[in-house]
């Protein structure tokens, strides 16, 4: 275990129904407060959510829920594979970041949101978050190919997608910029007293932007209803976490702002969902922000042009074979009595759905050139 593998790799998800990983369980105890009693109330408050999570790690999903999680994750995976192919064919241009490997994060977290009430904001790796909402894959794919029928009329592209209907506030290409916006969304929830919360996603790399910490402070100071989610997939482009971060245990980074942290296995949708319930309940009770670190892994390159020289093939293979979020749930479905044929039928239906989206995205017309000048300001000019 001494090899300097990324964090996600050294933290394999416990096998189904097994006890929590020993590392995670021993974490809170391993961090005594200097010069203070370990059990002081203040420290406990920062760790209480993590302890609650460890007491009850996996969400007790009904058969129907489990199936739904499976379908959503599989849809994301197949959609992203197809997007990768369309990119290869030149139908998608520019920058395109796939969510393959990280599916359990968006599905587990967003399934715990209150639809039509809570808001979500994320970075540029955003296709999965859109799909986890149940947004029509056609309009997402058409946005990737830059067509008029795309969810942002082909103006945003892969990195910039929005849906007012779902209170999805984007898709942001500038690393870290979405985090203060999330703070603003949370402030608006509070101001309007609508009971909603904001889920603000960002990456391990984005976690080093200064504006993230300005937002942590404001969110804690003003007691905002926000859940910060660091999707730690081990890398920021070619930079491994340990080469860019002084504190690699990201869930601790809110401590200085008195934001409780949670360290979550992002490769198991049921653990993610269980953690989400605890975090969201805390925020909804008016107790202020929570910081969740979701340990996950991206299988594909950072974007479509990534030589991948910063990690070994074996490392990627190991995650795919032993830690895959979709395989994990597939196995669990089988254990619960789903037949192979039933599972195959799901797979087939999802493939067909994705093929339809690709056709739509390929055959929809490009925007009219006049669209270049719309949506710049309120008035056209």
């Amino acid at each position: 275990m001494a090899k300097p593998a990324p964090k996600a790799a050294s933290k394999p998800a416990p096998k189904t129904a097994a006890k929590p990983a020993p590392k995670a369980a021993s974490k809170p105890a391993a961090k005594p407060a200097r010069g203070k009693s370990v059990e002081s109330d203040e420290d406990f408050a920062l760790r209480s959510l993590q302890m609650a999570h460890e007491d009850n790690k996996r969400f007790d999903a009904s058969d129907e829920q489990l199936l739904h999680f499976y379908e959503q994750m599989l849809l994301i995976r197949r959609f992203e594979e197809r997007a990768g192919q369309l990119y290869g064919l030149g139908l998608i241009g520019g920058f395109c970041h796939l969510y393959i490997g990280q599916e359990a994060v968006a599905v587990g977290l967003q399934s715990a949101l209150t639809e039509g009430l809570d808001s979500v904001i994320t970075g540029y790796r955003d296709h999965g978050h859109m799909l986890a909402y149940g947004i029509d894959p056609n309009v997402i794919m058409a946005e990737l190919t830059g067509r008029q029928a795309g969810i942002s009329k082909g103006k945003g592209g892969s990195m910039h997608m929005f849906s007012t209907e779902h209170r999805f506030y984007g898709g942001h290409g500038i690393v870290g910029a979405q985090v203060p916006l999330g703070g603003g969304l949370a402030l608006a929830h509070k101001y309007r007293e609508d009971g909603g919360l904001c889920l603000a996603y960002f990456g391990d790399g984005a976690a080093n932007q200064g504006q993230v910490y300005e937002t942590f402070n404001m969110a804690a100071l003003w007691n905002l209803p926000i859940v910060f989610v660091i999707e730690n997939n081990g890398y920021a482009m070619g930079t491994a976490v340990k080469r860019s971060s002084a504190e690699t245990e990201f869930y601790r980074r809110g401590t200085a702002f008195r934001i409780p942290g949670m360290d979550v296995n992002g490769m198991d949708v049921l653990e993610v969902r269980a953690a989400a319930e605890i975090a969201f309940a805390h925020v909804r009770e008016g107790k202020g922000p929570v910081l969740m670190e979701l340990n996950t892994y991206r299988y594909r390159g950072h974007s479509m042009s990534d030589p991948g020289k910063y990690r070994t093939r074996e490392e990627v293979q190991d995650q795919r074979e032993h830690n895959d979020p979709i395989e994990r749930i597939k196995k669990e479905l089988a254990e619960r009595g789903k037949t192979e044929d039933e599972i195959k039928a799901i797979d087939k239906a999802i493939r067909a759905r994705v093929a339809e989206a690709a056709d739509f995205a390929e055959n929809s017309p490009e925007p009219d050139p006049a669209e270049l000048y719309t949506d710049v300001l309120v008035e056209s000019y």
């Binding site: 241009g93 520019g94 920058f95 540029y124 830059g146 067509r147 082909g154 103006k155 945003g156 592209g157 990195m159 910039h160 290409g173 500038i174 690393v175 870290g176 790399g205 984005a206 080093n208 932007q209 200064g210 504006q211 920021a236 482009m237 070619g238 930079t239 080469r243 860019s244 971060s245 020289k309 910063y310 490009e366 925007p367 050139p369 669209e371 270049l372 000048y373 710049v376 000019y381």
Partner: protein
């Protein structure tokens, strides 16, 4: 030090001249400066271990070690701020901002600190740093990977803005920028890293190695900041350009057989106003081309200067071909890009006056 300076317009071709692309030329300039000056330090996102997303710093960490060439976290404000401090203490940092579109988190440090340190300390402290950053469109990068924000910097007194258009110039200008005792923004037109893109997007781009300006002398040489390059001489019209648009303008004038004098500004601040004035007084017509948005773009400044200085020599109003006043689009890139069609129309108009 008797540094060779190529103040003439054509590249000096000697026996040891090789052909490089823009990335190789930049990489070579950085290596030479790391070699010559122990105070030169390169820092930025993925510049060390990975060698830069465009490979501009490839091999440098291996050769010069991690104290000279190193990776930073994704913290643009911090990267630029740290570089200002390093410079004030006497080092010569060369931070890379991966895309010009990511420079804004560091804008405060550039405007309020780097650009003002010399003035505020009455010359006691300076910020001799060179911020390298790929900029410009034509790569389907959409709004966050295509911008041309040069006018934001030319508007700030206290910063120099340099934009090379050939491998030969990139190397000589970068060496000058690094040796300069003021903060320099060095914008690299990423569309022409691998070849002189002419705007005829449906034709393959010729690789640099076939282009005359890819001849790059070995070793150390400088091109002074503030000296424009006459790309070709002409009598009918002066075209003021920089970066990628140099090649687009040249191709369009070639295709139309216009006897244009094309001036590659190379540096916007300091500006070679003499070269501009001399040319426009000779031709009586002036067309300005840039990719950046139009309103308050650098073309507006150029147009004002030409009008102020050459008004009585002008036979037609000064004209501009620029990006539209919109964010850079994701689709319709070629409708947006100020390419051959729009430049051709502008030339027709200005020549018919």
């Amino acid at each position: 030090m008797s540094a060779p300076e190529t103040t003439n317009d054509a590249p000096v071709v000697t026996e040891d001249t090789r052909r490089l692309n823009m990335i190789e030329a930049i990489n070579e300039a950085l290596a030479i400066m790391l070699e010559r000056d122990p105070d030169v330090i390169i820092l930025g996102e993925d510049v060390g271990y990975f060698g830069g997303v465009f490979r501009a710093t490839a091999g440098l960490q291996e050769k010069f070690g991690k104290t000279r060439v190193f990776d930073t976290p994704i913290s643009e404000c911090g990267i630029i701020g740290v570089a200002v401090g390093m410079g004030a203490y006497g080092l010569r940092p060369v931070p890379e901002i991966q895309f010009a579109d990511y420079i804004y988190p560091g804008l405060d440090q550039l405007v309020s600190e780097a650009a003002r340190l010399r003035y505020r300390s009455a010359g006691e402290f300076i910020a001799p740093m060179t911020v390298r950053s790929p900029f410009g469109g034509g790569i389907f990068g959409g709004q966050t990977h295509s911008q041309s924000p040069e006018a934001l910097f030319t508007h700030v007194s206290g910063i120099k803005t340099v934009i090379p258009s050939t491998p030969h110039d990139a190397k000589g200008l970068l060496i000058s920028a690094i040796e300069d005792n003021d903060p320099v923004i060095f914008f690299e037109p990423k569309r022409i890293y691998n070849g002189p893109f002419t705007g005829f997007y449906d034709k393959p781009v010729e690789p640099w190695k076939k282009h005359r300006d890819s001849q790059v002398p070995e070793g150390y040489y400088k091109i002074p900041l503030g000296k424009a390059r006459t790309v070709r001489e002409g009598e009918a019209l002066t075209v003021l350009v920089y970066g990628t648009m140099v090649h687009v303008a040249e191709a369009v004038c070639e295709a139309r057989g216009v006897d244009a004098e094309i001036i590659d500004l190379r540096t916007l601040v300091p500006l070679d106003i003499e070269a501009i004035e001399t040319s426009v007084k000779k031709t009586g017509r002036c067309l300005i081309i840039h990719e950046a948005t139009r309103t308050s773009g650098f073309g507006a400044e150029l147009s004002a200067l030409v009008t102020e200085r050459c008004f009585y020599h002008l036979e037609a109003p000064v004209d501009r071909v620029t990006g539209f006043d919109t964010p850079y689009p994701h689709s319709l890139e070629w409708a947006y890009f100020p390419g051959p069609v729009r430049i051709g129309e502008a030339i027709d108009k200005i020549m018919s006056e």
